[in-house]
């Protein structure tokens, strides 16, 4: 059964090494710029350092994102190739460095050294501007997510917006422009068809995507990402994935509230129980709708028609090479990461532990371990580890990269759609389904006390 157990071991080792490397670097950047340097400056200069410290703290999230994106994309390309190889029983990249660990670094160097070509008759300005417009929204769109995934850490608190999820969606609408621009400016018919396809596809699939997120916002009663995350705290039964708070009453009853908690939340008796069940089913469908729509938005298989290699010779980026192609490539993987983060925050409880506290605290050893970490030298004196953020970030990393691996699994499993199938599936199946789910949620939430 585990004939490729060796490969599984190698891929796990690779993942752990890379993730530890990436997040140690990002952590050190954040800690150094946002906490250690201001502490040092304050101890040396006193009050004079206040302005400098403010600037340092404000710059920290931006620099952290800019450091994170390239190394993260390198890791994601590597893990995608290794995981695909695992699922198709091949060997992935295994020559450059131990276990092929440096393969993508070598690829990046190759891409950056390639000649940068603008095709004859192409619109040079637009041709250059398209990759930038494709890349920029995936960076800025990720900004309001930072506070939500780090459990509202003070360093990232400023980035939280009252209309957070709307900002993310607005940033997600911009790459379409870039793809049409790239397709048109390349002076190539394959690119043009790729650009047109991506416009049609993105517009069709944006509707179910936004409707599924609106369903979640309706249950939460807010657009604020941090508030949405905080509502879901306290175990898997509170997550938006399972009814968006419809099971909170059950959770409270299990936590020790008993029948009284059940009666408070499900105040209409049997009708409430039915509605809670409906909510759970609706939100699970919403989750699936979001994953499907997001897959289409970021042009992943099975929706990668704009860049289908076999029919369009990789579509809108046919004419791109060198640095510009590298930016396209980087942005695609960053988009995958951002979409996984949005899913984590909106549906999977952000940095919340799936095991509820009333079970966790009864397992012998866990509370002692948490207390030991909290009182350790690193936490209390050096502020290297912030206990609240530490565990939350671990869970976020696990969930986000789990979703990334899931996307790779889908890529290795499903064949590509045909364009008419794609449009029919979007307009005749997904949009009606998302509207039905939305209406069910509007009515069902009146009969259950949710966390919204």
């Amino acid at each position: 059964m585990f004939s490729n157990g060796d490969e599984i071991f190698k891929i796990s080792r690779l993942t752990i090494v890379w993730l530890a490397g990436i997040f140690t670097i990002v952590w050190m950047v954040c800690w150094g710029l946002g906490i250690a340097l201001p502490m040092l400056l304050t101890s040396q200069l006193g009050d004079k350092a206040a302005l400098t410290n403010e600037i340092l703290r404000a710059a920290t999230p931006v620099i952290a994102i800019l450091v994170f994106i390239p190394i993260n994309a390198m890791f994601m390309v590597l893990i995608e190739r290794r995981a695909l190889a695992l699922w198709t029983v091949r060997k992935g990249p295994n020559r450059v460095g131990p276990d092929g660990n440096f393969q993508t670094a070598a690829d990046a160097v190759k891409l950056l050294l390639k000649e940068d070509i603008t095709p004859t008759g192409a619109d040079a300005v637009m041709h250059t501007f398209a990759p930038i417009l494709f890349f920029a929204p995936s960076v800025f769109g990720a900004v309001p997510l930072l506070a939500a995934v780090t459990n509202n850490h003070p360093l990232f608190h400023v980035l939280n917006l009252p209309t957070g999820i709307f900002f993310v969606l607005a940033a997600g609408a911009l790459p379409v422009v870039a793809l049409v621009m790239a397709g048109w400016a390349s002076n190539n018919k394959y690119s043009l068809v790729g650009g047109l396809r991506s416009a049609a596809q993105a517009i069709s699939y944006e509707i179910p995507l936004v409707l599924s997120l609106i369903t979640v916002c309706l249950m939460a009663g807010t657009l604020d990402l941090v508030k949405i995350t905080e509502q879901q705290a306290g175990g898997i039964l509170n997550w938006n994935l399972l009814g968006g708070g419809a099971l909170t009453g059950l959770n409270n009853a299990l936590a020790g509230g008993g029948a009284k908690a059940l009666a408070t939340s499900y105040f209409m008796g049997p009708i409430s129980y039915v509605c809670a069940g409906l909510l759970v089913i609706s939100l699970i469908i919403s989750f699936w709708l979001y994953l499907t729509g997001a897959c289409a938005e970021i042009n992943r298989i099975p929706f990668d028609l704009p860049e289908a290699e076999s029919e369009l010779v990789s579509g809108y980026n046919t004419e791109y090479s060198g640095m510009k192609f590298a930016i396209f490539f980087l942005a695609e993987f960053t988009n995958l990461f951002v979409v996984s983060s949005i899913t984590t925050v909106m549906f999977l409880g952000g940095g919340d532990n799936p095991i509820p506290p009333y079970i966790l605290n009864n397992i012998p050893g866990i509370p002692q371990m948490v207390a030991a970490i909290r009182d350790s030298y690193f936490c209390s004196t050096l502020h290297i580890i912030n206990p609240e953020t530490f565990f939350a970030t671990l869970w976020v990393i696990a969930k986000v990269y789990g979703l990334v691996i899931f996307a790779v699994l889908i890529r290795g499993t499903l064949p590509r759609f045909r364009i008419d199938q794609l449009m029919a599936f979007g307009w005749k199946r997904l949009i009606p389904l998302s509207l039905i789910v939305f209406i069910i949620v509007v009515f069902a939430r009146e009969f259950v006390i949710c966390h919204g």
Binding site: P162, T163, A173, L192, L196, A199
Partner: protein, 217 residues
């Protein structure tokens, strides 16, 4: 002295002024680009830039929700227009023809008159601006309020939409629905019987369209 000037320059109203002039300069330049660029598709992309700067101005006016809605709606909407323009225009003829006027032989005054007559559209636009500006200057006594826009503007808007303004809201959605259905009916194409009575013309037309596609560069 220098510190004083710096602090006056960086005070809140002055920062708003600087941001205003920066955004409007960018916006006006891009809007002129939209009007004068000979390639329609490029001017469509530039228009997205104009709307980006306008949403920056909305942010200055503390209307965050509408700024984001502006980006979300117009980025996709204008892209669609660009796509339609791509499908409908023939790139060889797409560069709008440049008209060169040959009036060197005229006397200077007649030359001036001719150029005024030719630029009648420009005069209409200038006149409309002067009229609007004069009206603004004349009406400049609005009851200004000192209060800032509240932080939960989204909540205010949402509540107003489902209470005081629910009927206009419903009418707007009905209008949108009707317009979309009408647009689909208009764009859907000719009824079927035409295909029967004139196979040749249809073939001709599809050929023309194919030629158009082939001509796209």
């Amino acid at each position: 002295m220098g510190q004083d000037m710096l602090s006056t320059l960086l005070s809140a109203p002055n920062v708003e002024t600087w941001a205003f002039y920066l955004l409007t300069t960018l916006s006006i330049c891009l809007a002129i680009g939209v009007l004068v660029d000979r390639v329609v598709i490029r001017s469509g992309f530039i228009l997205i830039g104009v709307f980006g700067t306008i949403s920056g101005i909305f942010l200055l006016l503390s209307a965050q929700f509408l700024a984001l809605a502006q980006i979300m709606i117009y980025a996709v909407g204008i892209t669609l227009m660009v796509v339609i323009a791509l499908m409908l225009t023939n790139p060889r003829l797409e560069r709008e023809q440049l008209i060169v006027y040959n009036d060197d032989s005229l006397p200077p005054l007649a030359k001036l008159f001719a150029s005024c007559k030719r630029n009648l559209n420009l005069w209409v636009a200038v006149l409309s601006f002067v009229t609007l500006y004069a009206a603004l200057i004349g009406e400049n006594h609005w009851p200004l309020s000192d209060q800032a826009v509240s932080q939960d503007a989204v909540q205010t808007l949402g509540e107003a939409l489902v209470t005081n303004y629910s009927i206009p809201f419903e009418f707007a959605s009905v209008l949108l629905l009707a317009a979309l259905m009408g647009a689909i009916m208009l764009a859907k194409g000719e009824p079927k019987h035409k295909v029967e009575d004139g196979d040749l013309t249809i073939v001709d037309e599809t050929k023309k369209q194919e030629n158009n596609l082939a001509l796209q560069r």
